[in-house]
């Protein structure tokens, strides 16, 4: 009888420990995001005008993911104060071959030269592009730690262990005014967060939404910036 009570007590303590561990990890799996804005000129956009968000893909080491570009565009195109965002692939295809990784303008001064091409100017007017936003950056994963082992036997299966890693997103958005061919500002977003996966029979992923937070915060700031708020 005494042994049974001790076993029940141990099991209760075990459950409390697991619950506390999960609560602790949930709090720990938070993301810290820092947004910096550098304004070089006045901005504002009419309801008839639109913007395009393009990913930089010139570098050999990394290229800005199309998913991130799409995420920022979708967020800016939603809500009461939505801005019309031309999808990246639609724009790049329509203005082929001027916005391919090898041929895209690198500086706002190059835009002036590009806009001298009547076919480019016509397409830009067709889309009503007022601002061009160049997104450059990536999300890196580091500090991977721990291990999880899983086993299956005749009586059932389960996993045991612990894993964690850190995600770090660094993105920069350069805004070019298509009407004046100038750079009007830069917004940078740095987000980082630790993710955990404790496994006691079942793995419980507690994922820090680092890239999603970087996307949301950058998109909100960009929207305000473009509107001139």
């Amino acid at each position: 009888m005494a042994t049974n009570n001790t076993r029940a007590g141990l099991m209760r303590t075990g459950y409390y420990l697991i619950v506390m561990l999960i609560v602790g990890m949930s709090l720990g799996a938070c993301t810290t995001t820092t947004i910096d804005e550098f304004r070089q000129g006045d901005t504002g956009i009419d309801s008839s005008e639109s913007i395009v968000i393009l990913g930089r893909r010139q570098g050999a080491a990394y290229s800005t993911h199309a998913d991130f570009v799409e995420c920022v565009g979708n967020r800016m195109g939603r809500g009461n104060d939505a801005i019309t965002v031309v999808p990246e692939q639609v724009f790049v295809d329509a203005l082929f071959p001027w916005f391919e990784p090898r041929t895209a303008p690198m500086r706002s001064e190059d835009l002036q030269q590009l806009m001298a091409q009547p076919l480019v100017t016509d397409k830009m007017s067709e889309f009503g592009i007022r601002y061009m936003v160049w997104l450059d950056g990536q999300t890196e994963t580091s500090n991977r730690m721990g291990s999880i082992s899983c086993a299956v036997g005749p009586g059932g299966g389960g996993c045991f262990g612990f894993g964690s890693w850190e995600d770090d997103s660094n993105y920069e958005a350069r805004v070019w005014d298509v009407s004046s061919h100038t750079s009007v500002g830069t917004i940078s977003a740095d987000a980082s967060g630790q993710s955990y996966v404790p496994a006691v029979f079942v793995p419980i992923p507690l994922i820090a939404r680092v890239e999603a937070n970087a996307c949301n915060n950058l998109a909100d700031q960009l929207k305000q910036f473009v509107k001139g708020d």
Binding site: S63, F96, P97, W98, E100, P101, T103, L119
Partner: protein
């Protein structure tokens, strides 16, 4: 319940079923050993550039039409056969009509004079390289292609001969299979070729010299 088969028929059916299973097994084993074929498929946009007021003849050699790159394993076994001939023709058939007022596809360069073209363009692939993540230890599939571009007068005289390279890669997040990764990287390389070719064509020194009197 009455059976429709007599014991002889049942025995025959069993034998056929066994043979079928063996055949199926053999096909599966042979397929696992065989090199996988990747037919490059993609769409290429038409370039937004002013067309040159010329009639260009284009000749696709058999080497280009049937171009297949073979990727071998470290042990020298054929792993992937990458067919990009038809995709190259599709690309040039999209790009060239945007660059020239008229384009004529020639079955034989000797027909150039009778077809009334100003020049004949003959593209060829010199080299094709494929970077697989398991070999390069990078998170992407990469394709690098080296071309030899040739332009001749309708009578076969030299106009220009130049080398072009194209590069394309696919990030790991976009491919579900090796075949998909190879295809996407090759399509990116072909897009790179199309953009570079359409923008730099008139800057190739020998082409520029040939064009100058014709555009005045």
């Amino acid at each position: 319940m009455r059976s429709d088969f007599n014991p002889v028929q049942i025995s025959m059916l069993r034998r056929h079923a066994r043979a079928f299973v063996l055949l199926l097994g053999a096909v599966v084993v042979l397929n696992a050993c065989a090199a996988r074929t990747v037919d490059i498929e993609g769409t290429y946009p038409s370039p937004n550039i002013p067309p040159l007021p010329l009639t260009l003849g284009v000749y696709y050699s058999e080497a280009l039409q049937n171009f297949v790159y073979t990727e071998r394993s470290d042990a020298g076994k054929d792993e992937y056969l990458v067919n990009s001939g038809s995709s190259h023709m599709e690309l040039f058939n999209t790009v060239l009509p945007a660059m020239f007022q008229q384009v004529v596809v020639l079955d034989d360069p000797a027909m150039a004079n009778e077809r009334g073209v100003d020049a004949v363009f003959i593209p060829n692939i010199d080299e094709f390289q494929l970077g697989m993540p398991q070999k390069t230890r990078l998170d992407s599939y990469e394709v690098w292609i080296k071309y030899n571009m040739r332009m001749t007068a309708p009578d076969g005289d030299y106009i220009a001969d130049w080398v072009m390279t194209a590069y394309g890669k696919t990030g790991q997040e976009t491919f579900g299979s090796a075949e998909g990764g190879i295809n996407d990287a090759a399509v990116a390389a072909l897009r790179d070729l199309a953009s570079n070719f359409s923008i730099s064509f008139t800057s190739v020194p020998d082409v520029r010299d040939w064009l100058q009197p014709r555009l005045q």
